[in-house]
Amino acid sequence: MTASATEKQEGDERPQGSSPKNIVALCARCFERGGKGEGKNRSTILLHTTDEDHHVARMAAVALGLTILEGAIPSPLPGVKPGLANIVTLIVLARYGWRTAVWVSLLRVFAGSLLFGNFLTPGFFLGLSGALFSLLVLAFARYLPSRWFGPVSHSIYAAFAHIGGQMAVVYLWLIPSAGIAYLIPLFATAALLFGAVNGLIAARFMDDAKNQ
C-alpha cells in the first residue's frame, strides 16, 4: 500500500485541468451573466471537492466513455460483452488502491445506467451484481504476490466473478430454471478470453505510463 500512496501524492501534484478554483470562477461567471442586477442576494452551493474526487470523476468518465463505445459493438449473444470499462478499474486498482476502484466502478454502473436509460431495470441489476462480485474478488486477488500475478490474473478473476454474479441474479431472480445452464460454458469462455485481453491492455497501459 505504501507504494501506491506515494504514487498518489505525485499524481496530486500534477497540474489539474479543472481545479476547484476554476469551477468556482466559472460558476460565478455564469451567475453574473444570468441575472443582471437582480442577483444581488444570490447564494451558491459550493461542494468542497478534493483532488481525489476529481481523479475518481475523471476515471469514471473514461470508463463511461468505454461503456458507450462498447454499446456500439454488436454482440452475438446478449450479455457477452468485452467489458472494456474494466480496463479502467484494473488500472485504478493497481495505482490507487481498492477503495478508489470501488468508487470508479460503481459510479460507472450507476451513471452508465442513467445514460442508457436502464436504471433499476433487470439489466441494471445484472450489471450491478456483476460489478459488486468482481470488486469482491479483486479485494482478495490484489493480495496475490505481484511477482507472479499481474493485471492479467486480476482481470480474469474479475471477469469470472462478473459472470458468476450475473448468473446468480439470473438464476435466483429472473429465470429460475436450469435452462440458463446451457449458456454458462459460452459465458465462461467469453470471460476467459475478454478477461485476458483486458488485463493485457491494462498492463500495456501501465507499462507505457511508467516509461514516459
Binding site: 507472479w148 490474473s153 480474469i156 436450469a178 445452464a181 465462461a188 470471460a191 478477461g195 493485457l200 500495456r204
Partner: protein
Amino acid sequence: MVVLQHIRLGDWLTLVMGGACIIFLVMKLWSGDLADKAVIRSGGKVFLEVTLSKDQQIEVPGPLGISVITIKDRKARIASDPSPRQYCVRQGWLQQAGEVALCLPNQVSVELTGSHKRYDSLSY
C-alpha cells in the same frame, strides 16, 4: 511478442485454470444429461412432443380416462392417472434424459429425451 511479456508465471497458471474450468463446465453442462424434451405416447403412438422449458399441464386421453402430465422447472411428472395401482404417478418427477414413466393400464407414457440417449441396460 511484446504483449506476452506482461503475462507473468502466475498469470499463465490462471489462464490454464480458467481453461480447465471451462472444459469442466462444458463436460458437465453439455453432456446431454439434462433432458430438453418430453415425448408423450398414448396407445403406442406419439401423442405430443413438448419442450421442458415451458411450464404447462397436458391432458392425455386413454382407454380408462384422462392422464394429466405436469411440466414444471424443466421436470415432468404424471400428476394424475386413472390406473388402479398409480405406479406412474408415484414415480414422481423425471429430470434426466432417458427417464420414463409408464401408465400401462391407460396406455400413456412420458419419456424424456436429450441430445444423447443413455442406455437403460447393457448386456454382453
